[in-house]
Assembly symmetry: C2
Homo-oligomer: 382 residues x 2
């Protein structure tokens, strides 16, 4: 892993919801860092989202504080004041301003943060800061995740980027129960980081969906320590885009109970908007997702789902390709069912849906729907 210069990490266990698991993580920037953020569009916003949206406007950002276990959402005034207290105490120990600290939470909605268990542990958290604990930080932000999500890149001119994320269920376009952090040692203006981040989100996190549900807590922060000058802007942009794409991919791969990653690529739609509606309908159809889970070449369900959008098209003009193999053309299978079934048993599925309505395309990633998803979500709290 490449770790951008200027950042330290720490993680501890406070017993926020469960004992003996890391549940509080801290990222500290030794320099006067700058940051940008993207937040959930859900009307119900968690306390850390409300505060984060304010703090991100500050010109300098120095730290990111994240807890798992409790989302601090639907907690009213009390939730807000507890989040503020936590930030204040942590900022004091770091010797920074409260508004230089960016908060995030993930976990169960409707419960208050147990400050009595968290606050006494803050000195330990701050004392533990080190360059190498990014993996412990990644563990501390996990909920139903089955593995920590960390990616990194170094550009040819030596600029380093590190991405850390959590997210497994409740992932839909517009940043559902997902936390992600992208760190770099580049020098970049706040407004440039903002537009780069928005562009990257559009091509990564906004193209993934797991169950169509979205959350109260989704947050993505990008932070730059400003230690290295960018000479080759395009190279940096590419690395940044790759980091967010790879994080999004890892989130889908870890979709709750998922056994397969599915890339749905709609081509030849009349408008971008229609391409997206087709892709989203297929990506969120429980019938398509269960058929793929069962490796059942039930292409009729894909057609029915496309039709569900009520966008006009001629079914006989649609072509399907599975992992590069022609599947359906003129409403006729182009390969033996056995061959298609075999492709459907793979862990990575690419489904291309080709229309003849225009030239617009859209790609969306999702996962299959399994009994395990039900098990996880029928008993998440207990």
């Amino acid at each position: 892993m490449y770790v951008p210069e200027g950042f330290l990490f720490s993680a501890i266990s406070c017993g926020i919801r469960k004992r003996d698991r890391l549940d509080l993580g801290l990222i500290y920037c030794k320099t006067k860092g700058i940051a940008s953020g993207v937040f959930t569009k859900n009307t119900v916003k968690a306390a850390p989202v409300i505060i984060g949206k304010k703090h991100i406007k500050n010109l300098i950002s120095r730290a990111i504080l994240v807890n798992s276990g409790i989302a601090n959402a639907c907690t009213g005034e009390e939730g807000l004041s507890r989040a503020e207290k936590l930030i204040e105490e942590c900022a004091k120990l770091l010797n920074i301003q409260p508004e230089e600290l960016l908060p995030a939470s993930t976990g169960v909605i409707g419960e208050q943060l147990p400050l009595e268990r968290i606050l006494p542990k803050l000195p330990e958290l701050v004392k533990g800061l080190s360059e190498t604990k990014y993996d412990l930080f990644a563990q501390a932000i996990m909920t139903t995740d089955t593995f920590p999500k960390i990616v990194s890149k170094k550009t040819e001119e030596g600029i380093t980027l590190l991405g850390i994320a959590k997210g497994a269920g409740m992932i839909a376009p517009h940043m559902a129960t997902m936390l992600a952090f992208v760190l770099t040692d580049a020098t970049i203006k706040k407004e440039d980081l903002k537009s780069l981040l928005d562009k990257a989100v559009e091509k990564s996190f906004n193209c993934i969906t797991i169950d169509g549900d979205t959350s109260t807590n989704d947050t993505l922060y990008a932070m730059a320590s400003g230690i290295k000058n960018i000479e080759r802007w395009e190279e940096f942009v590419q690395a940044f885009m790759k980091i967010t794409k790879e994080l999004a991919y890892l989130i889908v791969k870890d979709g709750e109970g998922a056994s397969k990653v599915i890339r749905i690529i709609v081509k030849g739609a009349k408008t971008k908007e229609e391409a997206k509606r087709f892709a989203k309908a297929v990506a969120e159809s429980p019938l398509v997702k269960t058929a793929i889970y069962g490796a059942d070449p039930n292409w009729g369900r894909i057609f029915a789902t496309l039709g569900k959008t009520e966008i006009a098209f001629d079914p006989s003009e649609i072509e399907l390709y599975l992992n590069g193999l022609p599947w359906i053309k003129n409403l006729e299978p182009q390969n033996e069912e056995k061959t298609i079934k075999e492709q459907l048993t793979k862990r990575e599925i690419e489904l291309v849906i080709k229309l003849k309505s225009g030239k617009q395309s859209f790609e969306m990633w999702t996962c299959d729907l399994t009994e395990e998803y039900i098990k996880i979500n029928a008993s998440y709290r207990s």
Copy 2:
């Protein structure tokens, strides 16, 4: 069961998809009946839907012919011509005009009707017509249904109504994989039947959702034999509405793998449209449906799902009631978790979501989401 005068029923086994199960059903009206229909809004329409939409315009309707096993959807010109051939042969045997026969199909998409197995059996089907075989007809139209769906009513003045339906998965507003037939011996004008049917659908089938998916084949026919005059119109309307509501309820109850029926009632929304969007979001949320399956009083998921609509509201103003018990008010539980959990274990759940934004309400029915749903749909075709 009350059976309206003038109707005969029959059902046989043709081995359309599986052997030794009833898969072809016929309803015959001895008089010059009149009919009305409502069809799927899915862009991909099955051959029987395309033909049904034409035939329903005919002033007289005499019969309804339904097969299960194969949907005859995504079958192109060949599918249309097979459906026409089947209708023609059946009409000939019944001594009626082809356009007096209303077709419907349900089953797997993308396969052709095996006319070679169906046509030779038509004489047996017609010969078997009798007043008592409505239950066999109800069985013949089943696919993943676990029980036949039949309801009937007799108004005080003696008018009889009989409703028969199929549908288990793929049920969403706008008539998803659902077939339903309402028969009556009343005398009613075609245009009156049409407006009554539209009104009834709005309050019944368009208020249910199982997995948010919709189908290529959804069809609802209402047919009147015109034997009895209606003196008390309102009484008849009430009975008609009840028949459709009860059929819709049975479909939700038989939702694929469902263990619980959930009635979601949104009150106090600013507009009808917003009330409906809230109700639909909750009814289709996999996270809410799995929590209810697991009897987990995870009210945060309900709030997050309401917020997902991106309709503005103040979370602290929302009140939740479960089976009549106050659940959440001012973001605080109003009853012990144990009490709420106990209610969630019941087979019938009523969830009232009360906003303070206005006076509009909307009711929607759905079912929980279980491992069984996945099992059924991962292997439906095999």
